[in-house]
């Protein structure tokens, strides 16, 4: 990853993360070398740890370290703005959307300066679409019924996964479907969501 002309790689990240008061050598090794590459909570923890670098005291660094730490702090701010709206349950909707907008704007400039060394084209496109969709969701809800809440946490694919699970469960060993069967099972899956008081949005346990 290249930010502000500075190369940031795993080893460099490790060197600076260890300066954080709440990190130890072991905890950083675990964060940077997850046993399961799809361990989402751990990935979020790593992203938040990079976000913590914003608060690092810079007074004791030499100029070349300062250059690196500034690049890391830009990444930290970027990651912080990206994850906070989805993981910090204390935020109001306005704060969430402001963070997302901040992320989109930061990302745009970093991408214009560093291109794919900053982020792959696909990841850039996807992350910008994520922000755009969140704003579309808000605008749609304002038109439909502004008194209702906007749950950004629902814009993930958890709901889709649940629905898929329920459709698949109905098939038991016969899980392949044609269009007609799929329609029936989808309808039944929606009934299941409602009748088990889970709600389609899984609002109640």
């Amino acid at each position: 990853m290249v930010i502000n002309d500075v190369i940031i790689n795993c080893v460099i990240l490790e060197q600076y993360l260890i300066l954080l008061p709440n990190q130890t050598g072991d905890s950083i090794t675990k964060l940077l070398n997850p046993a399961d590459p799809q361990d989402v909570p751990r990935a979020i923890e790593l992203i938040r740890a990079v976000g913590d670098l914003q608060s690092l005291d810079k007074s004791a660094f030499n100029p070349s370290q300062l250059k690196t730490i500034e690049a890391l702090q830009i990444i930290g701010t970027l990651f912080h703005a990206m994850t906070e709206p989805f993981v910090n349950a204390e935020l109001s909707l306005l704060e969430q959307m402001t963070y997302l907008s901040e992320f989109a704007h930061l990302s745009l400039v970093l991408y214009r300066l560093n291109g794919t060394s900053y982020m792959s084209n696909q990841l850039y496109g996807d992350s910008q679409v994520m922000v755009k969709n969140a704003f579309f969701y808000l605008a749609k809800q304002i038109l439909l019924d502004p008194s209702q809440g906007v749950f950004l946490t629902l814009s993930g694919d958890d709901r889709l996964e649940n629905l898929f699970g329920r459709v698949r469960m109905q098939g038991a060993h016969n899980c392949s479907v044609d269009l007609k069967t799929l329609m029936d099972r989808l309808a039944a899956a929606m009934d299941l969501c409602v009748s088990t008081h889970h709600g389609i949005r899984d609002t109640v346990d």
Partner: protein, 280 residues
């Protein structure tokens, strides 16, 4: 309490009703925050300038109608599905949807043309067409496995787009060696400066680097012993970024760049780093 990747609406404590949030306010205050953050880290930025071009937006950062990360090619996975759908739907009677019917016909015709353009296959091959296996020199080979081997990484039965969107982790975690005692040993640490001769074309120059990675016997490490570094047999690779150095000029305030064409004046041995890195 759910993990942070499965938060439920009930767990949210902040005020999130839609009327409490004006999208324009959120958007512009986010923009202002991004601008002040980048300024504080010495990245010059003017969002009003950037967005003054009518064809630049978040999804098209360079304008010109180019959307990064969005492929204009048809999704290969969708292509496969539509083919099988058109095949399996052939015997189904007309459902009265004229538009859909027409679209399907066009697709089928295109496929027919493609097939007709190909040279006729040999009779043996045609005989084997319905078979998953192909015979050669008395051995049987699985056709799709052969294709996968021949086309290697580029032959992916499902949509390749999906995987490209995940920045890869190295599957094998890098082996981190136990911290060696730091006392009494002179170490070369990641981020330290070093000098090396650099050749570009016919020109050779002395450059000052900041190290960005150290590889010792094929492993990435954060430090190596300085004594080992000078040994010829030690298997250590160091890569780094070239510092952009300037000499302070006594006569004027303009800086002279240290480059092969513009050697530093002999009366000064002090070099200043501009804070930037050079590309060769």
């Amino acid at each position: 309490m759910e993990h942070c990747d499965h938060l439920k609406p009930a767990a949210w404590k902040g005020e999130i009703s839609a009327h409490g949030c004006n999208p324009h306010t959120a958007w512009s205050s986010g923009c202002a925050r991004a601008e002040s953050v980048l300024r504080s880290y010495h990245v010059p930025v003017h969002y009003t300038d950037i967005f003054s071009h009518s064809d630049i937006d978040m999804l098209r950062p360079f304008g010109g109608g180019v959307y990064p990360g969005i492929s204009t090619d048809p999704d290969p996975s969708v292509g496969v599905i539509s083919e099988t759908v058109s095949d399996s739907h052939a015997p189904v009677e007309d459902d009265g949807d004229e538009d859909f019917e027409d679209e399907n016909d066009i697709e089928v015709n295109v496929n027919m043309d493609d097939i007709l353009d190909e040279p006729p296959a040999s009779p043996e091959l045609e005989g084997q067409a319905g078979d998953d296996w192909i015979e050669h020199d008395g051995h049987k080979f699985h056709k799709s496995s052969l294709l996968r081997i021949i086309f290697g990484l580029y032959f992916v039965p499902k949509s390749k787009e999906r995987l490209e969107r995940v920045r890869a982790y190295t599957m094998e975690p890098s082996k981190v060696e136990a911290d060696e005692p730091l006392v009494g040993v002179s170490l070369f640490v990641l981020g330290d400066l070093f000098t090396a001769l650099v050749r570009t074309g016919q020109t050779v120059a002395l450059a000052v680097f900041q190290s960005t990675s150290i590889t010792h016997k094929g492993r990435k490490v954060t430090s190596v012993s300085a004594a080992e570094l000078v040994l010829e047999g030690s298997d250590i690779n160091i890569s780094g970024q070239v510092l952009h150095l300037v000499t302070p000029s006594t006569a004027s305030t303009t800086f002279l760049e240290l480059s092969p064409y513009n050697s530093p004046p002999s009366h000064s041995h002090t070099l200043f780093w501009t804070g930037d890195f050079n590309a060769l």
